[in-house]
Symmetry: C2
Subunit: 345 residues, 2 copies
């Protein structure tokens, strides 16, 4: 062989020429068709190996109409919840020949639209989407429908959309967390909530439900809201907690929309000289890694993010294989309360 210093994109044509067979034959060998004689097959395979042949997937995609790419759109890759999902999704997809194209919406609905349009232009076979769209009317859903690109919603459901969804029961999460605080003798419980997406709203509903059940009051001012974006909640949680602590009757427990928010809340509480959980019990959602190594280990609700990624990927594959002939499926995964010191008073 010549010194392999020059660019050499090997094509089927080259292998066919070298071996005196047709391109079709090479193509068939590549894809394991059985109407090829073992002798030819072996020669072709050997030559492929010699030349280190790699099929051009763009060309294949053009003729088959399938790209073997799946898009994943999340609000923030840095959030461990979504990173874990991304990891699990590739883990399921890769052995099946698919690859993952990631896009980040940065919690911005318009950006999400353009990211999805870009994915569609790339002919992705399916999209897995933690959407920040406000409603089912958003043009993204029409786009995907128009191209018949199947999609799976994760984490945040969009009411009124006939699409598959994988996530958790957020109302249940809110209920569970709040009941937990009540059972630990909190009587004046505040909530630091997230932006207006289904998850935050569900958790708030669960919060109210638990309190109502126990006939506990929720002063209006005890529900603070954090606009996401800023440092994924930590700063927001800090400020919200400051507000809560400045009230004349202070809460003795706080249920935070997520762990980042809770960590911010903890920081505010420490700075104010409070003991956690003696003066203030805190619980979050997400069960972040290292939650148990914090100054006061943080109680949390585990959202089962690995399983969300796993299931979403599998459903995406089903939708691709089925060519759309499959009914939307809604999967609610179980959650688990992880009690740690921040609420064990």
């Amino acid at each position: 062989m010549a010194k392999s210093s020059k660019k050499s994109v090997v094509r089927m044509k080259d292998i066919a020429r070298d071996l005196g067979v047709s391109v079709v034959t090479v193509s068939k060998v590549l894809r394991g068709h059985d109407d090829i004689s073992p002798a030819t097959r072996d020669r072709v395979l050997e030559r492929m190996r010699e030349l280190n042949y790699k099929p051009n997937l763009a060309a294949r995609s053009l003729v088959t109409g399938r790209s073997y790419m799946v898009g994943l759109v999340v609000p923030d890759l840095l959030h461990p919840f979504f990173a874990e999902i991304a990891k699990m999704v590739t883990h399921i997809l890769r052995p099946r020949g698919y690859c993952l194209v990631i896009a980040s919406s940065e919690e911005n609905p318009e950006l999400e639209v353009s990211e999805i349009e870009a994915l569609l232009a790339r002919q992705v076979d399916a999209i897995i989407l933690a959407s920040v769209q406000a409603s089912a009317q958003s043009p993204v859903f029409k786009c995907m429908d128009q191209l018949e690109t199947p999609y799976v919603l994760i984490d945040r459901n969009i009411p009124g959309l006939k699409a598959s969804f994988v996530g958790v029961d957020d109302e249940h999460i809110g209920y569970l967390a709040t009941r937990h605080l009540i059972e630990h003798r909190c009587r004046s419980i505040a909530h630091i909530g997230g932006p207006s997406v289904s998850t935050a709203e569900g958790r708030l509903r669960g919060f109210r439900k638990a309190l109502a059940e126990s006939k506990l009051e929720v002063p209006m001012q005890f529900v603070e809201r954090v606009d996401s974006g800023d440092d994924r909640g930590e700063e927001g949680g800090y400020k919200a907690m400051l507000t809560l602590l400045s009230m004349k009757t202070r809460p003795d427990g706080v249920f935070c929309y997520n762990d980042e928010t809770a960590i911010g809340a903890l920081r505010a509480a420490f700075e104010a000289g409070l003991e956690v959980p003696a003066d203030l019990a805190v619980i979050g959602v997400g069960n972040m890694r290292f939650s148990d190594l914090l100054r006061v280990p943080l109680s949390s609700i585990d959202q089962n993010s690995q399983l969300i990624g796993d299931r979403a990927a599998r459903i995406a594959l089903q939708l691709i294989e089925a060519g759309g002939a499959i009914a939307p499926e809604s999967v609610l995964l179980p959650v688990k309360l992880i009690q740690r010191e921040s609420s064990s008073g």
Copy 2:
């Protein structure tokens, strides 16, 4: 318009037909060629909008030979260091029309090879790579060279490879961290190191250098090594620390390969009833978020991960645009010591 319920993949052909122009004209309008009359241009653009036309990027890729995709291969997406890089890379790439395909090697060299081959088959225009290959002889590098696919190494450099690299000076990190411990009156300093990649090795060299400079001994047994993989180091750090603590003369300071390892080490120290930093000072690398909210806030060296992603993405773009006619560049970003309670004795 008919109800848009049926699949409708709009092609240039359709627009051309509707308007009585040629496909070429449509193509030129799409790409902003200026040899088209404004009148035609407007008609085409309007029709594109009406039909919600999206160019088929696979087809374009086939003829131009460029996919506008960049591959990113990391050992573990879940590690915040790599997640941050991934986020930054998309952030640079997206506005320029590129998308990011992610692949995870799981710290497995063979898996890394196959992931890279898959990316090459997809015609990615460049690859950004935190490689786990042991040497420059690995076939992956030949592969990428053969296809003239430019690549940028990040985080871990491969000695003897003529490739662009973006990372930090790991020997300096090790030196800085160790000097810091020495300055804080540690006299018996241990190291918990990582797997044999350039980063871990550099940090170890820096460790030895700082100790030698101060004429401090390093008993062989004071250098523990963690095989990555297990929970990104936390468990390994824990076990390594247990070993160190079981010695007849215990270290009074430990420099850990990364923050995860350090957190494991902290856990072991706490369980042994030690006070940090009074009995044992600890410093890590990575400056993980929430490092300052740990039970004992962890001192660390910040690796500037955002900037690594930024620079790697820009270099990748340059390499793509230059068509290989650019000399490899090695960028060493500055690091910063973040002192916290774990080493402020």
